[in-house]
Assembly symmetry: C2
Homo-oligomer: 401 residues x 2
DNA sequence: CTTATTAAGTCAAATGGCTTGACTTAAATG
DNA sequence: CATTTAAGTCAAGCCATTTGACTTAATAAG
């Protein structure tokens, strides 16, 4: 029956799914807690000692974990802690920004192992993707030169670029990114590298970076506000990155805010782009970036003026995401010059009272995250690692055909 | 080692988890698609025919599914479709509102089987919870009278009330709900009924109802705007209800909106409470509710005035949640008088252009959902069903001690 | 110094849910 | 009436986890 009708259903699972999940749970537990013995792991995951032993043995054979020195000092047989082996897996990440691109390689711990960067050439994505493929090759060879076995351990390629995705270009798009939206980027890079390739927006990548190595380590409910050329939010909800039905979740830059009776998207008032415009700088050249840093450190009055306004809007943005997401904490991160980011962060206090004001908070309402130009590329690279080694619902399911 | 240190880790799983997941996947597939044969189920879930046969056999033995008439008409052996048995499971739901409480029993399909309602007595939650327990008993006996075996098939008790939860009461709280917040409601009702009891806010319950029997059937990314005495949003993200780190996610009523240079929470301008105030009605009595319905049908100018303003704010709210969540659709639901809700819905068009404007949309950007006074209670009752029978990540994990 | 206690980790058999491939059943097609 | 197609069963096998007894090795107690 129903030969042509598509039946909506989730996928089932089997013992492979069980085992895959348990392996991921062990890896995540070690990542979050540091070296753990098999007995520790068994208690923490509610698996039996024997199961943990079996899994650790296979993880060790795969080069993902290694034993450390035996720990004595308590009653009973001394325990053997296991740690993650950073060289157990690698992944590549690409950030595509308005005028430049960055490529990094990271290890299993999400730490940078190699990097490359270049300005995007004229000629749009057709030319740009060729350059990116060359950069990827450079990074790959750099990586292989230092760690020969890494070639067999590449988990994939993560790509991050500004969103939103899949929309008709608006006249508002001053960034010349529209042409990249139509280009079959994932397919081109996957074909050119032979790696499993995924795409996300820069704010999501930033959140992934924060979760891997930053302020969101081990947290399950985090909003990471990405402050860069534009502004967006990376969402970690229920322990997983949330990207919405079309990868456009978290685009808070396009939410309409009011200030002084004027309504406009947040991005027009709180973003590097808005600051460049306020200062009359040519947008998003590396010189403009350096100039902003200089002016900030010099307490330039135009910067201060902008800061006061942007901080006011950012306070509202924090209030909004706290109210809507009820996160454990909000992180201000991004790729702004660090002095500017710190200044903006400081100006945002006191925060607007919100639902997040509760006694017994474990974490501050707002924290400063990894700020710096490489945050997005690092997050992009961390994505394949996360997808391959974090416990995810999708990971237990049987694969699509 | 680490005797006292708590180790953060997710729980592992085993074959029981596998089986539990697969059973849930089958149940959900039949709920979403209608009766399906074993062969259909095997294809849709990627399980083997044999596994599906085994699971269907056990589901049939548990009284959750039943075979229908054999279907002929195609080549090959005729297939035997299986449907859900509504009497396979029941659950109870309680809505606690400002001045009244509703209790319903629903079946496996989330359909109402019994109901009761009463005004909350003076004396706060101590007295109120006694009344609620009596109402629950009434509904339970009503249910047992009609379907004797239902007593053994109660999946649990879901409770819904206005949020936010766990905050210090503000002077803004005109609803006398604060005392309910401090009261150990879940514990009291669980002890009084012997049922597994859970608590959520009314907007979440409304979203659950929409997913079970309304406009969100089978969708994985939905924002359900609950318009009632207050206003909130129920969030279905990635196929699961999202409630945040403290069950306060989706409280869009507390987001600050600007209109005419004045900034105030959305709830103060778009909610039944705001309309009652605008009309000078005593808040939230049943008479006020009927009066609003009458005035709406009479095109009372004060109602029209309120509608114009509320619709403007609601348009912004829709724009905001679309931008932030990137849902498949937004649903306007709630417990307002139906004529008012329909009027408000109509006034919200045209919507503000947003990221959600894309060609090839499968669904409208905004839909009207189940509107009516029983929506929240039905959603509250559907929650235990959902938790027991929907495929959830948490369902595969080993239980906590 | 000896024994008791505690705890980590292994061994080997058992359990149980899914898989496999051959088989049966039963209808439509030509 | 033989062929084709498809649903569904049967029985053996696979494999990850479980179980309980056992080994190892440390500290604590007397």
């Amino acid at each position: 029956m129903n030969e042509l009708r598509t039946i909506r259903a989730k996928s089932g699972t089997n013992q492979e799914g069980t085992s895959a999940h348990n392996r991921r749970v062990l890896i995540e537990a070690i990542r979050l807690n540091g070296p753990l013995s098999r007995a520790d792991l068994a208690r923490a995951t509610r698996l039996t000692k024997q199961t943990v032993s079996n899994l650790i043995e296979s993880l060790e054979a795969d080069g993902l974990v290694a034993s450390e020195d035996v720990v004595r000092g308590a009653r009973g047989q001394p325990s053997t802690p296991y740690r993650l082996v950073p060289e157990g897996a690698f992944a590549l990440g690409v950030q595509i920004d308005r005028h430049l691109t960055r490529v990094v390689a990271v290890d299993l711990l999400g730490r940078e192992v190699a990097r490359a960067m270049a300005n995007l050439p004229p000629g749009g994505p057709a030319e740009g993707s060729k350059l990116i493929l060359r950069l990827i090759e450079t990074v790959r060879q750099d990586l292989a030169g230092r760690i020969p076995e890494s070639a067999h351990r590449l988990a994939g390629l993560g790509v991050a670029m500004p969103g939103p995705f899949g929309l008709e270009p608006s006249d508002d798009d001053t960034w010349m990114m529209a042409q990249w939206q139509d280009f079959p980027l994932v397919e081109t890079l996957a074909a050119g590298t032979g790696l499993a390739t995924s795409l996300q927006n820069d704010a999501s990548a930033c959140a992934t970076a924060e979760r891997m190595n930053g302020s969101a380590d081990g947290l399950d409910h985090v909003v990471c506000i990405y402050f860069g050329y534009g502004i967006g939010a990376g969402l970690i909800l229920g322990g997983e990155l949330y990207t919405g039905s079309n990868r456009n979740a978290g685009e808070i830059g396009m939410v309409l805010f009011s200030r002084g009776g004027v309504q406009s998207p947040l991005e027009h008032r709180a973003s590097l782009a808005s600051l460049f415009q306020h200062l009359g700088l040519d947008s998003a050249t590396t010189e403009a970036y350096a100039e902003v840093e200089r002016l900030t450190l010099a307490d330039d009055p135009r910067v201060l003026e902008w800061l006061a306004g942007a901080a006011a809007d950012m306070r509202h943005a924090v209030h909004m995401v706290e109210t809507i997401f009820d996160p454990e904490t909000v992180i201000l991160s991004g790729s702004a010059p660090e002095p500017l980011a710190k200044r903006l962060f400081a100006e945002m206090f006191p925060l607007i009272p919100s639902n997040a004001d509760r006694q017994n908070r474990a974490l501050p309402r707002l924290q400063l995250g990894m700020i710096g130009p490489w945050a997005v590329a690092l997050g992009a690279a961390a994505e394949p690692i996360r997808r391959a080694f974090d416990p995810l619902f999708s990971a237990i399911l049987k694969e699509a055909f």
